[in-house]
Structure formats: structure tokens, C-alpha cells
Symmetry: C2
Subunit: 133 residues, 2 copies
DNA sequence: TTTCTGTTATACTTTATATATAACAGATGA
DNA sequence: TCATCTGTTATATATAAAGTATAACAGAAA
């Protein structure tokens, strides 16, 4: 796996894990139907508890990014990803607003702010593992 | 004050307060040199403890957005706001990356994502209280 | 039957968040 | 001088979040 956990970070471990799984899906490193490691093996790999892994899995299952079957285990959802919701737009708006305010105070103008957001979006969805087939 | 605290939110109270003060500075509702309410009066106004207010004030003082003098009390920093730092760029990059990944998965393309960021930046720094003088 | 799976349950520790109360020293205004 | 307000510090408490540890269960697979 490509997951890297920073034990010194102030960001909760299960949040770091869930974020990186989301980013893996967005970048194409994880494709619909792809199996994920078991909570025990991934926990052992990352050096964290299986319940911490399970909390990340459950969160992403609840939000519709993962499916968990008795047979196949944990897989990336293959029946279509969740759409844009009002809840997501509100959450994105709140976080971007907070960042934009601090950026503006620090002297970052609209052009630079938007450029940074654009570049970040592109670097997030474009991963070298993708092929043009 | 224009501060509104949501007691039901999962976001810590001192974070809500600090965020809204930052947004007040960015929008021009709070200008350099402007005095802020005392920790006791603002706490009473918002219905929260003075230590919670103090934690928000201390955080913003530490980051360079506020000054606290024995005489003038708490005021918006008038000697120049903190610049763009590597730490800020990293933090912004991390948060935008997380949002961009989820947005892309949910079907929001680059154009819509960037538009939302642009509109949010503009609505953050443009406040009706500003005049063109 | 053994092994692996997700899941649930219980218990525990540590940290973060928030409040309550009190006290102190500097500054202010009557 | 005296009362009041300021930020600040200290102590204590309560609650929740985060993370770990251990165990057990039932379904599936070899």
C-alpha cells in the first residue's frame, strides 16, 4: 500500500488513513472493485490498531466510497460513487472560506490563491499510474 | 460583535471563534488597531467560558494576527500582518488536496472546483461594510 | 477443521475540549 | 485611595475524542 501514517501529526490517525484512501481513489491508484487489505493486516503494516483502521473503513463505507461484503471483504465501491451533496458543498465552502481568509490576510491575492487550488486539483487527480487506454 | 457560535457543531468553540475573527479581519469588519472585547465580556456575550475565548485570542496572538498590551487590551495587529509561510502553504495544500480529491470523486470537474474556490475567496474578502474611499 | 474475514464488546489510557473558581498584578477612573 | 476592569495564571473538574489491548462471535474459504 501507498499509505503513510505520521504518528507525530495532530491529525487523527483514522483521518489520515481515510484521507489517503480518498486521494487514492481520486488519483486512480485505487479503482472501483479493488480490494483493500484487511483491518488486521493493514493495521499491522502501518503499526496501528485494527480498530483505528476499522474506523476509517466504516467512515468511508458510511459515506459511500467503500463496500464491505462478507465474501469479498472491503473493496472500492463499484456501483457508482456518491454525488455532490449539499452537505459536501457546505463543508467545502466552510473550509475554503477559512483558508481564503487567512491567505488574503497574509497577502495572497486571488490569482495566486486560485492558481494554488487549480494546481492542487490537477496534481490530485493526475497520477502517474494512469494509462490512456 | 458579529461572532456566532454553534454549540451543536463538531468544530471546537475556540476554533470557531478564531476562524470568525480571521474572517472578520480578511473582510475588513475588523481593521488594524481595532479593539476586541475582553475575554470576560465576549465570553458572556457568546455564552462560553472566558478561558475558551482566551484560547482563541492566544492562538491568534501566537500566529501574529492579534496584539495584546497591558494598556490597550486585545487589538487587531497594526504593525503588519504575518506573511505567507511554508507552514501555511503546506497546511493549505493538504486541506485543498483533501477537498479536491473528494470533489473529483463526487464528479465535480476542475472548472466547477476552481469556480467555487474563486467565488469563496471573493465573498470572503468583500464585505458590504467596506467603502471605496 | 483450521484460518481468515468483519464485527462487536469491554476495558483502559491519554489527550483535547470546556467549564468553574480563585487569585494576582497592572492600568483606569472616580 | 478605592473600586473596577484588564490579561494572566493556577487548580480542579467533567466530558468527549482518540487510540490501544484483548477477547469473542459468526460467516466464508481452504
Amino acid at each position: 500500500m501507498f499509505i503513510e501514517i505520521d504518528m507525530q501529526s495532530e491529525i487523527p490517525l483514522y483521518t489520515q488513513l481515510a484521507d489517503q484512501l480518498i486521494e487514492g481513489i481520486a488519483s486512480g491508484q485505487l479503482k472501483p472493485g479493488d480490494p483493500l487489505p484487511s483491518v488486521r493486516s493493514l493495521g499491522a503494516d502501518l503499526g496501528i490498531n485494527l480498530h483505528t483502521v476499522n474506523k476509517a473503513y466504516q467512515t468511508l463505507k458510511q459515506e459511500g466510497f467503500l463496500d464491505i461484503h462478507r465474501k469479498q471483504g472491503v473493496i472500492v465501491r463499484s456501483g457508482g460513487m456518491p454525488p455532490i451533496t449539499d452537505e459536501f458543498l457546505r463543508r467545502m465552502g466552510r473550509q475554503v472560506k477559512s483558508l481564503a481568509a487567512e491567505a488574503a490576510i497574509r497577502g495572497m491575492n486571488e490569482e495566486d490563491f486560485v492558481r494554488k487550488c487549480t494546481e492542487t486539483y490537477r496534481s490530485t487527480i493526475n497520477f502517474s499510474g494512469g494509462d490512456g487506454s
